[in-house]
Symmetry: none
DNA sequence: TATGAATGAGCTTTCATTCAT
DNA sequence: AATGAATGAAAGCTCATTCAT
């Protein structure tokens, strides 16, 4: 019973992701979500209290998933540079996936700039991202590949700023073929930041 | 006649900016805009074809203004580092102004991820921003303060990515007091990128 | 301008009365009201904040009107018995009008039993009705046609209870032809109450 | 089997009464009723064809119960005045019970003013109430305590009109402390009506 | 019997847009 | 030029009812 309900919610959230990706945060309707899920409008209201609860759970869900994938990627590697490369491979996964996720994500950021609920969820995501950065930097310092006096916290934040800045800029250019350019440039920039004290 | 009309449009656009800043992109109504402008709803429709035209003209207007201010700032300086510092002072102008502008701007990015009209306007803004970066880098290379083999185009793009990434991250943290932290960290990161080949 | 708006509100309220009379308080829709008024649904929302505000203004309006008519009726008469007869003629005006009003009124009473807004409006109506009773009774005592030790307040309340009880009972019987029976019986009962100390 | 079903229906009707009393006639949902009964929504539909059938059976049930209690009360007494007093004690049982019942009852009257099904049920209740009045009056005439030429039918109807009028007025005033006032005033008024030809 | 997941009709409300003045 | 009354499409949400289990 409980399991079925969880699956249903998951199904609706997946549909919501698709719907927001194609219609945009503020244009998306519950009907769109229901259509994407292949269920009736009633189902959406049966499993979620209201529209905002679907969307905030969606943000929660996708940021959690992204983080999990990223964290798993760096966990499999053992040196700082390997972790960094794995992280970047993960972050710049592919034009298609990045486009879909960032389209949705920038919509949520737009909301978060006003809505504390989204803001809090995004902040938790930031914390996770920064932690990945911190882990890589700390390890690199131990290994002696990054300067010992590098500011861990600040650099971790700059890493994520660079990543989000690059992927946003890439998304806005509307050119899938530049994905690789941005990936390489971003990696190079971050490497520079990490190797300079 | 023509002049009066231009002033009217300008008045409405200013009101639209305030209205979007306070109510949010997708919550703002034409009534809100009319109220902020101190005119009737009819006026808004008299000077603009529809809601989207107001908002796209607004994006056009604010990005043009931002660029103009930034460009003027660097024009007044003569060395690369002076220009860079002036640019950053201009970009990280103050918590209040940055918050107002970026709240509106992330909303437009969210739209631009889907709407080609906004996308084109934003791309023109990017071009202008990149040009500022290029100008600074090229001058610095001439002056011998930046490595001669630095990739001008790529670095200019990374500069803007860093700036947008930092200001977005700052905005999402909801802490005005971190404005200075992000400003300094961003300047330091960009300096590092510019001084490392 | 202002006058036109007042007329519009009045028009909508009249339509609301007709709509509630034919569909019932809780079945009536804003579309019904708009249809009865011969306007679009938007107009109803343009002049009233929401559904409840229409309905509470309706109760306010009809109770005020009823009172006014009743008060004017007794004002035109000079002796207690003349006033009483005029009052009863007014209250039991006709099967059609009584049916329409009481159908709507019992719906409001049903709401008022739960909603303080309606309750307050109804209480004001009661006060007015009781005042009419008090006026008649006080005059009758002065004239010597009613016992001097008759309790003015209590008797006024019982008068209205008798009237509402009779008209409700008549309405529920669904027989227009009994209107006259109830009118006479009510008048006789009230006369008895007034003439017995 | 049959018995179980009867008990189930009774259970649902009791729950419906509580639910209507607390949520109001037109706000009450089948879920509310199911919750009050401690059963699932399906059960409600299993034993009742639809929402209206529950509510009409509820009206049937509560009016029958009220009558039964009232009738039993007067049956235990032997003189007209004793019966009248017992009747009034029964009718004005307590602020709590009267409030609960009349809140629900006025809602049904509101429905009955439009719906023949409810109207018929209420008419049957009226008949029962009038019969109680008739019984008391007839006995009183036999005993010589009421005028011999008193119109039995009419007076019985006026008795009930007075009772319903008083209790409705009391309910609408929202003051529990006036319960006793209305009880006494009602009894006095009815006594006057009965003792005056 | 009993459950509660699923449906979708129908409601209130918002608001961009039109247009008579 | 300017107003704001009027429109009605479209949205979120509620809930009686159905039905597979």
């Amino acid at each position: 019973m409980k399991k079925k309900a969880e699956e249903r919610k998951e199904q609706v959230l997946k549909a919501a992701f698709q719907a927001v990706a194609s219609h945009g945060y503020d244009s998306v309707t519950l009907q769109d979500i229901a259509d994407h899920a292949g269920v009736s409008k009633g189902v959406v209201h049966y499993y979620f209290h209201n529209k905002e609860s679907i969307l905030s759970e969606l943000l929660q869900s996708i940021t959690a998933q992204i983080y999990e994938v990223e964290y798993r990627a760096i966990s499999g590697k053992h040196t700082a540079m390997e972790k960094l490369n794995a992280y970047m491979d993960c972050v710049f996964v592919s034009p298609e996936k990045n486009k879909k996720f960032y389209r949705v994500y920038v919509n949520f950021l737009a909301q978060a700039s006003r809505n504390p609920v989204y803001q809090k969820i995004n902040l938790a995501f930031y914390e996770n991202c920064w932690n990945i950065g911190r882990e890589i930097i700390t390890l690199g310092k131990k290994e002696g590949v990054f300067p010992i006096d590098l500011d861990v916290d600040t650099t971790a934040k700059m890493m994520r700023a660079m990543i989000d800045g690059c992927l946003t800029q890439w998304l806005m250019c509307g050119r899938d073929d530049l994905h690789d350019f941005y990936k390489k440039a971003c990696l190079k920039s971050i490497s520079t930041l990490l190797q300079t004290s």
